[in-house]
Each structure stands twice: as structure tokens, then as C-alpha cells.
């Protein structure tokens, strides 16, 4: 898919911007704090409806304004789509509204209208960083692919927050209310677990193939899903998994009551990366870890493309400069069949890339090639 136009109003440091990107690779160069990442953030929002940089979305609205918007037109493999996201921030409350082809829609229907794969410097910690990064990696793809995954995830988070609040605040917790939350959580957890297990299977296959091409004969890269509770047999199906998760939640209840915390469930899932038999986080060199991250990101792109039949828009925010020329080339070469990419850098990269070059200076974008 190709983003044909992006229009911003009062978004971050952009008072107004009308940008017609090119197909292929758009290279955006500029010093820090000129608006490179803000532009990528806006494009990502057209796909995910959310900022990839902040959860405090009032920051998205330009200082002194109360309404910001991101509009875009994208060309899909069949037809085109007009997307609009408005962010209203007033009186300490920030609300977003969405429209597809001019008609207002809910977040769940907006999400995934165009697919994006983002790669930001924080992703370089995928192997060694906290599990939340790896869960976010799973969620990014699965939520864009299916609105029902996002809905399950959001409902899971809601029930979990309520159960946590109850564990934290109730003086004598009602076991029937806890059993109620556990039943609701087990139902959603079973679906999340199945979706994640299937995705990791596909991701590890794609990542291993890319890694093998880069390092022929080296120890194979693999990603292993560690769900919470630690179940192994997913083949039994959703109903059976729900029972097993329900039993694990019941078993964990005394510990949860003692610690006043939710200790079991997909909010505790992790994905472990192995090189051969060895966990990369403990035993990999920095170079090996970095190569694994690149293979994973490239695999993420390949799987989302395969699953949706559309070539996602690739967004690389300030990551190329973190990579040597050889890795830059290997990574861009491995992302197969992308139709459009946006790459930001503080200086022209060592590599000769890009079908269009832009410079950003004080929220003004000008094409230099």
C-alpha cells in the first residue's frame, strides 16, 4: 500500500503540513527536534490510531491549541481509502475520533485500515529489554490484522485492571467476584494465547529463514513463546485452553490474594529468542543480538504482509544511524516487496538509498531530490 497524502493540523510542532510522499523509500533528513519523528508518528497513527511514542496523547496537540488532526489518503491493492484522526484536548481530557472515507468509525474499525510496521530505536532492545517490549511486538501485528484481537486485548486489560483494583483495595475480597473476573479473563486469555502462539510460530519460521540467509551455516535463530500460565499444548483448542487457564488462575488465587496482584495471564507472557540452544539475551554478543532484532523486524513485516495480502508501510524512525552500513543494506534488502517506506535520519546515511529525499527544518518539509 502507498500513502498518497498526509495532511496535519496543529499536530505536535506542525501548525499545518500537506505532504505528498513518493512511492518507494522516502528519506527524511533533519537535525534533532525539527519534526522528523513527529511526521512518522502521524503516518503510523493513520494505521494504528495511536502514538508509538507516548501514551499521554495531549502531547500530540500543538501547544496552545485544542484540536489536532491527521488526515491521509492511501492506495490499497484494491481501491483507495481516506483516513482521518482528530485529537481534541481540553480541560485535561483528551479524546480521539476517527473517520474512514468520511464516515465516523470506532477505534476498532479504524485500526488496521492501512498496515504499518514501525521500527524505532527502542526496538533494538527487543532481545535484552523487558518482556513488555516483546508483548508489544506481538500485539502490534495481531491488532492490525484483526479487530477482534484488539477488542479481546482491550477487554482483557479492562477486566484485569478491575481485578487488580479489587485485590488491592478489598478488605475481605468476595471469592465469587474474583471467580467472576477469572472466568472472564480465562475466556479472553485463551483466545489471546492461541492467536499469539500461532503468530510466534509463523514469526520464528520467517525470522529463521532471513537469519540463515545472512549468516549461512550459523546457529539457527528461533523465537519461543512462553505463555502465562505455562501451557504447552495449544492443539487442544480454545475451549480446553480456557479450562486450563481457569484452573491455573484458581490455583494462583492464594498467592494473588497474599501479594494483592494479578500474577497469571497473558499480561505476563514473554517471547524468548534463542541462537541454537542458547538464550540470546544472556549468551549473545551485542552484534548477534542486533542481527536477531533486524531479522525479527523483517520477519514481522513479512508475516503481516502474508497474513493481510497488503504490503505494509514501513516506518524506520532514527534506526538506520544505529546500524553499520552492512546491516543497513542487509535489513533494507531483506524487507521483501515493500511498496513504500519512510526513513528518518539526522544525516544522509552511508548507504545510497531513497527514491525521494526531504529535509525537515522547523516543521517545514522540502524535497531536495
Amino acid at each position: 500500500m502507498i500513502v498518497r497524502s498526509v495532511t496535519l493540523g496543529s499536530f505536535r510542532n506542525y501548525a499545518a503540513l500537506d505532504f505528498q510522499p513518493s512511492p518507494g523509500l522516502n528519506l527524511i533528513v533533519g537535525r534533532n527536534a525539527q519534526g522528523k519523528s513527529n511526521l512518522l508518528e502521524a503516518i503510523a497513527m493513520l494505521g494504528t490510531g495511536k502514538s508509538f511514542r507516548t501514551s499521554r496523547e495531549s502531547e500530540l496537540v500543538q501547544h496552545g491549541q485544542s484540536l489536532a488532526f491527521v488526515n491521509g489518503v492511501a492506495e490499497l491493492s484494491h481501491g483507495s481509502v481516506t483516513l482521518s484522526c482528530r485529537i481534541v484536548s481540553a480541560g485535561g481530557v483528551t479524546r480521539k475520533t476517527y473517520a474512514v472515507n468520511g464516515a465516523p468509525v470506532r477505534f476498532a474499525s479504524f485500526l488496521g485500515s492501512i498496515k504499518v510496521v514501525t521500527f524505532v530505536p527502542a526496538d533494538l532492545l527487543l532481545v535484552t529489554g523487558p518482556p513488555s517490549l516483546r508483548r508489544a511486538m506481538l500485539n502490534a501485528t495481531l491488532a492490525q490484522e484483526r479487530a477482534t484481537y484488539y477488542a479481546d486485548l482491550a477487554r482483557y486489560a479492562k477486566h484485569l485492571a478491575q481485578k487488580s483494583a479489587y485485590l488491592r483495595t478489598a478488605t475481605s475480597p468476595d471469592p465469587r467476584l474474583l471467580a467472576t473476573y477469572n472466568a472472564l479473563l480465562a475466556e479472553l486469555a485463551a483466545r489471546l494465547l492461541l492467536a499469539r502462539a500461532r503468530y510466534v510460530t509463523q514469526l520464528t519460521r520467517a525470522a529463521a529463514a532471513i537469519h540463515r540467509r545472512w549468516i549461512p551455516g550459523g546457529a539457527p535463530l528461533s523465537a519461543v513463546y512462553h505463555p502465562s500460565p505455562a501451557l504447552r499444548d495449544y492443539a487442544a483448542g480454545e475451549a480446553e485452553l480456557r479450562l486450563q487457564i481457569g484452573a491455573a488462575l484458581e490455583e494462583a488465587l492464594p498467592r494473588e490474594l497474599a501479594r494483592r496482584q494479578c500474577l497469571v495471564g497473558p499480561h505476563r507472557d514473554d517471547v524468548e529468542l534463542l541462537l541454537g540452544e542458547l538464550p540470546l539475551a544472556q549468551f549473545g554478543s551485542q552484534g548477534q543480538q542486533r542481527t536477531a532484532v533486524l531479522a525479527l523486524k523483517s520477519a514481522e513485516y513479512a508475516v503481516l504482509r502474508e497474513r493481510t495480502g497488503e504490503a505494509p508501510v514501513l516506518l524506520l524512525d532514527d534506526v538506520l544511524s544505529e546500524l553499520d552500513a552492512q546491516r543497513q543494506e542487509a535489513f533494507l534488502g531483506s524487507v521483501e516487496g515493500y511498496e513504500q517506506a519512510f526513513v528518518t535520519a539526522t544525516a544522509l546515511p552511508a548507504l545510497e538509498i531513497g527514491s525521494a529525499h526531504y529535509v525537515v527544518e522547523g516543521a517545514r518539509l522540502s524535497r531536495i531530490r
Binding site: V105, R106, A108, S109, R146, A147, T148, A151, R155, K158, H159, A161, Q162, K163, A165, Y166, T169, A170, D174, R176, L177, A179, T180, Y181, A183, L184
Partner: protein, 201 residues
């Protein structure tokens, strides 16, 4: 800027406290009232005071009423075998507009939400159990909102009520009537598929 007369400003401030009313709308309402005859203002003021003086909670269903018990609880034509549980009195008005439901109601006074400090003890759950024991309805219909809190409250109540030997049902989730399938969002559609029903022969 010259300051507005004191009584004008204070009524603007009062109106602006109401839900969905901002300072601009509040000012419009106040200037409208200012242009009306005194009688209009008096009847508005009386109506507002009557709201607090005359409206009370029904001792049986906890809906709002002028006379206790409320009109619905007093009505002998209401089917005593059906009891519908709602979160707020306003939900009764929505359900009554359908004219389809002929049973009685029970108002919980909210939904279970520990994040907002609302557990079962803060709602009229104990009263519901007592009513089911006394009135022995054959079915309790739970009509809570289709959001996370409504869902948790419904499931919690069903776990409490089922051991008492009463049938517990919940309103269906699904497609709006007169709508088109391809306009429904995926989540609603998925729920409608889950809740599909067999057509009668």
C-alpha cells in the same frame, strides 16, 4: 472587560456545572431566561426544587418515584415471575419505551467497578437476593450495559442467583435492526455470530 451582573454570572456558573453544558451554552440559557416573563423562571425553579423534594427512591425496586412503592411495583398487571436487573433508573425508562417487557425491575445503583471503589457491597445486591428469595420469580433478566463492567456485574449476579434455583438470562448482544451487515463493526458482528439462534421450523 466589564463584569456581568452578579446574579447572571452565578446562574451561568450553576448551569456550566451540568453535564454536556459548557460556559457558552450556559450563557445562552441564562440570557434566554432573562428575556422570559417572571412566571417562566418561577415554574423552572419550582420544577427543579420539586425534583429534590418530591422524588424519592422506591423501597422495592429502588427506581425513582413520587409515591412509594412506584407505579410499576404497584401495578397488578405486571408479571411477578419476571424480574429485570438494571444499573440505573434511566435504564428502566429505556426498556419501558419498548413496551415489550411486562415484568418488574430492580435497580442496582451502578455497576461493579473496583477501580472506582464500587464493589458488590456498594450496590443493591443484598436487596436483590432478598427479593428473589421473597418474590421467587422464575426468571431474572440482567440488562446491564454491554461493556466490561456490565459484563462482570451480569456474570457475578448470575453466579449468586443460580444457586437459588432461578433462571438467569442476559440481554442479547448483536446487530442493530434495520442496519446493514457490512456496516457493522467486526466486534459486534463477532458477538452476533456467537449469539446466533436457530430459526424455528
Amino acid at each position: 472587560m466589564p463584569s456581568i451582573a452578579g446574579p447572571v454570572q452565578s446562574l451561568i456558573n450553576e448551569f456550566a456545572k451540568l453535564p454536556t453544558i459548557g460556559p457558552k451554552t450556559a450563557a445562552r440559557l441564562v440570557f434566554y431566561l432573562l428575556a422570559q416573563p417572571r412566571g417562566e423562571a418561577a415554574s423552572l425553579a419550582e420544577a427543579i426544587l420539586a425534583l429534590k423534594d418530591k422524588v424519592r427512591s422506591c423501597s422495592q425496586c429502588f427506581s425513582i418515584t413520587e409515591d412509594d412503592p412506584c407505579e410499576i411495583c404497584r401495578d397488578p398487571r405486571r408479571d411477578p415471575r419476571l424480574l429485570c436487573v438494571v444499573a440505573e433508573p434511566k435504564d428502566i425508562f429505556a426498556l419501558e419505551r419498548t413496551g415489550v417487557y411486562r415484568g418488574r425491575y430492580h435497580v442496582l445503583g451502578g455497576l461493579i467497578s473496583p477501580m472506582e471503589g464500587i464493589g458488590p457491597d456498594q450496590l443493591r445486591v443484598r436487596e436483590l437476593i432478598a427479593r428473589v428469595g421473597q418474590e421467587s420469580p422464575s426468571e431474572v433478566v440482567i440488562a446491564t450495559n454491554p461493556n466490561a463492567e456490565g459484563e462482570a456485574t451480569a456474570l457475578y449476579l448470575s453466579r449468586l442467583l443460580q444457586p437459588l434455583g432461578v433462571t438467569v438470562s442476559r440481554l442479547a448482544y448483536g446487530l442493530p435492526i434495520g442496519g446493514e451487515l457490512d456496516y457493522a463493526d467486526e466486534v459486534t458482528l463477532a458477538k452476533a455470530i456467537e449469539g446466533r439462534r436457530i430459526l424455528e421450523k
